[in-house]
Structure formats: structure tokens, C-alpha cells
């Protein structure tokens, strides 16, 4: 799937494909598929289970097949899709390798295993599904029952978790700095929200749109945790990735939405680099233009809006951000666009002179995005 070419660093300019492949014409998805649909159909009809699963993933995630469940049904793989409104979780074990998805270890409805990482991935993706379904009436990542696949034990000493366009992937950590990444439910919800963003606003993973993409993942990651714990905005600690560090690290978590830049300060890791205000905006090239750094600014804006409104953050502030992500934001949105759009949504939902609208405007003003 990779191509060597001179030019952009890691395709950072967006979702373009360099292969010249005619099947890579869509721009909504970060992943481009190079297998022609006819070949996928053959695999889906005649392949073994693993091949069929892979073919399914490709078909289900491909824009040109969206909405064409009849096609998949005719191929006899409709069971993989689940019925509308149904949770369909599958957990795989990469056994410290990098081949995805790995060996199937737990499917929907099966009882817990002895492996904590497997159970955490299962329970965390289930809670995230339930959150989106019950709070925002959303049926999974694509609002069409997209199956929730997760792979645990990816690679050796892998200090990371990611969404690859069709599934979640979790490392075990190196044991020195990080523990396994399934320990924090907000990490799981963060990864799944990358999927939601990909299907909705499709925010480019670079510079300000990329930092917004990251921020939406932290916002809903944190909201899933708060929803599970039934915490109000005041009660929540707004820490992302709490419990991931080993006891040797001086830090409470990876990021603080309440006070960006204060989550850790450790001799080995250095200090949390997140800015809490536009005056400290990171303008360098690292990390796709600082997507995990500058997300501190919109993260704090959400925290400020949610606490100014009060109560359960998912009910009002979360709804405003969700509708902005689903209906209003474009893939190239800047921070100021996010500010305008969330204010507009707050005005639509609660009134132009409402407390909610004022809370959202005040939040973006406090982080220096608008005057």
C-alpha cells in the first residue's frame, strides 16, 4: 500500500493518492484501496474466511459501495454488517506482530477471555457504541452499523494506538513509560471517533484541521468516560489517557483538556507541550503540523464551554460539537471556522441570546481564537 515518491511528508497534504490508481478517486477516506471491486467480489465469494473479512473491510469502507448493502447481501456476507442498531464487536490478537487484523479472539456476545487487553477493547468499544447510540442516536462509526474491529497486542513494545481507516489497533506499551493502551476508555473512544470524523467532516490530518480532528477525538473520548462514570463537567478531571503511564513517570495522563500543558512533567519525557491559548500556538512541521500539540487549544475551548453551561457535558456542549462535526464543518476547517460553526449550532439549538451560545463564544474568546 505504500509508494515511494519525492514530495510531501507522509501524504500530509491530505488524502491524495500517488498510485495513479483509478479506484482511488474518492477524497473522504484517508485510506485508498488498490484492489478493483470485481476482484473483491471474487474474493468475497470464493475466498477463505480471512480473505472474505479483508474483502468485506475494503468494500464496506469504500465510498463507492456505501449504501449498497444489497450488493454485500447478495454476496452472502451481510451477516458481517450486523443489523441496524446492532453492536458488532470483534477483537483480534496480533500476537506482537504487525499483520492486521490478526487472529480472532472474541466476537460479539462471547464471554470474557483471560486476556485483559481483549476484554478492555471489547468493553470500551461497546461503551463507545452505546454512547453514540443512546446520546446522539448514531448507529456506529458510519451511522449505518459499521462493525467495530479491534486488534490488541500489536507489535513489540508498541507505545501507541491508532485507527487505520477500518479498525482500531492497540499496542501493549514498552512497560518502561507506557502500559497497554486499552487501559483508558477515552483512548478507545478517541480512536473510534477518528472513524466518525472520517465519515463526517473528514477533517484533513494536518495543521489546524488536523488539530481539530484530534480535538474531536479527545472531546468524545472524554465524554464517553464521563458518560460511563455519570460525571458532570465539574466532577470530571478532563484528563486524556489517565492510567497509561507506568508508576515511574511523573504525570497524570497524556493530555489535560482543562489545563493543556500540565498533564506530565518528567525528566525523561520532558513537559507536556500542549498550548492552552493561541499565543502559544505551535507552528512547526513535526507531528503533521502539531496535530497532537495544538489540539490543546480547541480542547480547552470545549472544556470552558462545557463547564460554563454546567451539568452533564454530553447533553449540551457535546451535542453542539457533535452536530458541528456531523453537519457543518468542512474538511479544511480552521480553528476560527470551528468557533463560528459551534456558535451557530448553539444559536440554532438554544437561541442566539442563550446561556449556551454565550458559553461557546466566551470559550473561544478565552483561548484566543476569536475576539
Amino acid at each position: 500500500m505504500s509508494a515511494i515518491s519525492q514530495g510531501a511528508f507522509d501524504g500530509g497534504s491530505g488524502h491524495s493518492c500517488n498510485s495513479g490508481n483509478p479506484h482511488c478517486t474518492h477524497h473522504r477516506h484517508a485510506i485508498c484501496f488498490i484492489i478493483p471491486p470485481i476482484m473483491l467480489r471474487n474474493i468475497a465469494e470464493k475466498g477463505d474466511e480471512e480473505q472474505r473479512t479483508l474483502a468485506f473491510h475494503t468494500l464496506a469502507a469504500s465510498e463507492r459501495f456505501r449504501g449498497q448493502r444489497e450488493v454485500l447481501s447478495a454476496l452472502g456476507i451481510v451477516k458481517s454488517l450486523g443489523s441496524p442498531g446492532e453492536k458488532l464487536r470483534t477483537i483480534y490478537d496480533a500476537k506482537r506482530g504487525t499483520t492486521l487484523p490478526g487472529r480472532l479472539v472474541r466476537s460479539e456476545g462471547k464471554k470474557a477471555t483471560k486476556d485483559q487487553a481483549v476484554n478492555e477493547a471489547y468493553d470500551g468499544s461497546g461503551a463507545t457504541y452505546d454512547f453514540y447510540s443512546e446520546v446522539y442516536e448514531r448507529n456506529s462509526i458510519d451511522d449505518r452499523g459499521f462493525r467495530l474491529d479491534s486488534t490488541v497486542h500489536y507489535d513489540r513494545d508498541y507505545d501507541n494506538a491508532f485507527w487505520n481507516g477500518t479498525q482500531m489497533v492497540y499496542g501493549d506499551g514498552d512497560g518502561q513509560i507506557f502500559q497497554r493502551f486499552t487501559r483508558s476508555i477515552d483512548v478507545i473512544a478517541h480512536e473510534l471517533t477518528h472513524g466518525v470524523t472520517e465519515f463526517e467532516a473528514g477533517l484533513e490530518y494536518q495543521d489546524q484541521p488536523g488539530a481539530l480532528n484530534e480535538s474531536f477525538s479527545d472531546v468524545f473520548g472524554s465524554l464517553v468516560k464521563q458518560w460511563v462514570r455519570k460525571e458532570t463537567a465539574e466532577q470530571a478531571n478532563w484528563i486524556i489517557g489517565e492510567g497509561l503511564f507506568t508508576s515511574r513517570v511523573k504525570g497524570i495522563g497524556i493530555r489535560s483538556m482543562k489545563a493543556p500543558g500540565t498533564a506530565y512533567d518528567d525528566p525523561l519525557l520532558g513537559q507536556d507541550p500542549q498550548p492552552a491559548h493561541m499565543k502559544d500556538y505551535y507552528g512547526g512541521a513535526e507531528d503533521n503540523g502539531g496535530v497532537h500539540i495544538n489540539s490543546g487549544i480547541p480542547n480547552r475551548a470545549f472544556y470552558l464551554a462545557a463547564t460554563a453551561i454546567g451539568g452533564y457535558a454530553w447533553e449540551k456542549a457535546g451535542k453542539i460539537w457533535y452536530i458541528a462535526l456531523r453537519d457543518r464543518l468542512r474538511s479544511t476547517a480552521q480553528f476560527v471556522d470551528a468557533a463560528k460553526v459551534t456558535m451557530a449550532v448553539a444559536g440554532d439549538l438554544f437561541g442566539l441570546k442563550s446561556k449556551e451560545m454565550k458559553a461557546v463564544r466566551g470559550a473561544w474568546q478565552k483561548v484566543g481564537v476569536i475576539k
Binding site: 507522509d10 501524504g11 484517508a30 513535526e286 497532537h292
Partner: protein, 99 residues
Amino acid sequence: MRASLERTGGFAGMRLTSTADTDKLAPEEAKELRQLVEAADFFRLPPTIASQANQPDRFQYKLTVEDDQRTHTVMVGEAAIPPRVRPLAEWLTQYARRR
């Protein structure tokens, strides 16, 4: 010969760096590092290796090797690391953790 790694991005957005100098490594390790650089055909890699898939939360690598005559830097996303370069990146990542 000196080989260095800068890893940024990832879920945690943390920076990991290491520089290994064959003059300061144990002879066996120095030999291993030279072999990895050679196996990667490092000096012939393009300065940036683009990825078709810009996947959220993946690592970004910047690898630099300098010997007596030349210095070369390669930027690559985790998902696009060519198989022959991967062992070098892994070796330098382990080296960063060991300090």
C-alpha cells in the same frame, strides 16, 4: 558513522530521539548498526517517503545517517516505512529507550 532518529506524533504526541555513534558503541553493536544502514540502502532513499494513507495517531520518523563523506535525512510515516528500513528504525527506537 552516526545514525539518529526523531520520532514524533502517535497518540501521545511525544518526541523520542536518539543518536548512535559507531565510535562510541561496542564493536558488535557498531557492526550491527553499519549492517542495518547498508541493508536499508539508506543513502539512496528519497528524502521523503510519502504514504498513501495518512492514518490518525501514527508515528512520523526522521532518520539521519552521516559518515565521513555524506549526510542523508529521510522523513517517513510509520505506515509507509519500507521493509528494508524498518529494522534500522526499530534498532534506533530501542537504543533511545535504553539510555
